[in-house]
Symmetry: D3
Subunit: 135 residues, 6 copies
């Protein structure tokens, strides 16, 4: 019998939604104000969920410290206070929608957790919209 544990993180980044293969007016039609040229930004809220059996000696599946160390080092330091379009290699040819950001985060973390723990990522872009991705 498995249990899932979730830890919550925050990062603050700038981005814009823009498809390089389209001109400005096509981008404006598809993405509206999210395509504005000088970027806007969000307080992203990230829930990282891991599942597994509870270790009887520790009372947990994986220690909270280990999760936080990994996510802070690999995700928060990577994305926080950054411009996702300009500074993050994963978005050099990928539009940084909340969907794609969640997939990028999942890909990074799942390699480190080595496909164990049935990783799931929930990412809020605002208080009004979020995505869930589990590979």
């Amino acid at each position: 019998m498995t249990i899932s544990i979730s830890e919550i993180f925050n990062f603050n980044s700038a981005h814009r939604l823009y498809n390089k293969n389209w001109d400005i007016s096509k981008n404006l039609i598809e993405f509206g104000k999210c395509s504005f040229p000088n970027y806007h930004g969000h307080n992203y809220k990230l829930e990282v969920k891991l599942s597994g059996k509870v270790d009887i000696n520790l009372g947990n599946t994986i220690s909270r410290n280990k999760i936080c160390d990994i996510v802070n080092k690999e995700i928060i330091q990577h994305l926080d206070h950054k411009n996702l379009n300009i500074e993050i290699p994963q978005f050099s040819n990928l539009i940084p929608t909340v969907e794609n950001i969640a997939i990028v985060i999942w890909d990074i973390l799942n390699k480190i957790f080595e496909n164990k723990y049935n990783l799931e990522v929930k990412l809020y872009e605002t208080e009004r919209n979020f995505v869930v991705y589990k590979g």
Copy 2:
């Protein structure tokens, strides 16, 4: 590999829980103060979740604008600032519990989304209780 996207909406409605086939005292036993005759109301909070593959050109499964346009037109305008028992045809013979409201919302939206997107509806009646329905 699919991702789910959720958009959050609010509407404020009046209702009462009352089974027309029962007398007042039986209704009071089953529904308590929720059966009071002159209605009470809630700030309903609705999460609409859709799942699918990410379109590579748009970075999303379905645009946020399209979801919002449909939900605002078909659900929010239909239920907001209304008396669910009196004004909403779906509740003429159906008790407007939070369960039944969620099912009515799901039925309306799933027809419009044409059974695509694996639609799921989460509906909060108060900060202390909610339901989840996916057909």
Copy 3:
């Protein structure tokens, strides 16, 4: 030196905004959908704030139990799961706006607290609007 203590309460009521001296179209202009004839409703959230010196034997100004007993008896039982326009005498000639509801609550509580404690009432109608009243 004084300290303030706040306790938070909830009640769910139906209401409509309607001035009896005006016709329907004038009400619609002034109050919009809030004037719809069959009522809508809200999850009201109430913060009751009292201020005073800390009693050295109890470590408080007034006990939480005393505040809760009074507010539950005088306010929550009075307003919860009621139709404010129809059932609450204070609104027989007063429009139950969030402003007037807060003033009615303050008037009831301040009589009971006998003008002590510098009573302040904060009332949320939705997560997006609230009022503060202190007499």
Copy 4:
């Protein structure tokens, strides 16, 4: 077609994370400040989710009152304002991590609900971490 209904509860307890088979320094390495000897505490937030078909006469799967009565009697009175390590028999030989508390709660409730309703328990220890358990 089934629907899930969730009710939310709170309890405030003291605990420490401590494995009796290890010395203090090993506990400190594994659990950090959570192993401090004189206990700390949390405002636990509990979501109890039950699933089933909607009864056509009642408009629900199980009444909110019945859920609240059971959870308040069997869980909240059992754990609220208690020291989990000292006072709760289930933790006499089990470390009261948020994972184990959720499993204990699930085991108690699932017996009472007699394996019906596909019980799921979500337990927040803080606003930043929670677990989900469904047996």
Copy 5:
């Protein structure tokens, strides 16, 4: 006797904290990661509070619609999905800290409300920090 009414708004903007009279390393010492060159961003949450006497015919001090129309037109359209440093004239020579953004908002709104209503602005930059300004 006056009452205050508050309306809540959101906008999402990019910014960086950078004093043009200092070099990069001095900016980094003073502002840390907030000075990073390519901008980051926030979901700003704005509470606009107005105080006054309650009009007996309307039951309010000023209509919610009027407040929302003004704030949406003058503030949200002005700042939402914008780069505060590049696109907002008020910040051409003013560092867009949360303090200065609140002051700019207050100055714009107070002119429109013509010094009536004892205007107060509360601005959250994240869930962990906010400012309050009342002129």
Copy 6:
């Protein structure tokens, strides 16, 4: 013209409400389950508010880093994951009610801030009750 800035912190502690000059039954009457002998605990949420003029070079009154360094060192490290009754000298003869905890925090911080900044402390014990103290 001054502005206030608030930073939010959390700490998790155990406590009980118990007056040493009273017997157990008198304590039980006054404090209820909060007087239970083996302690319970809370996720305390602390808002530290400081007011002052905005420095034109920095765009703030006092840097967020300085506030966080002081509060983390002097308050969070002092109270977090501790038993307030047993381990905190300030409560050796003072009942650790939320009122008294707020006063103790204010006294510590106000000495460090040297009576500048018009310090105000808001302390939540649960999501349902909080105090505000400004000396």
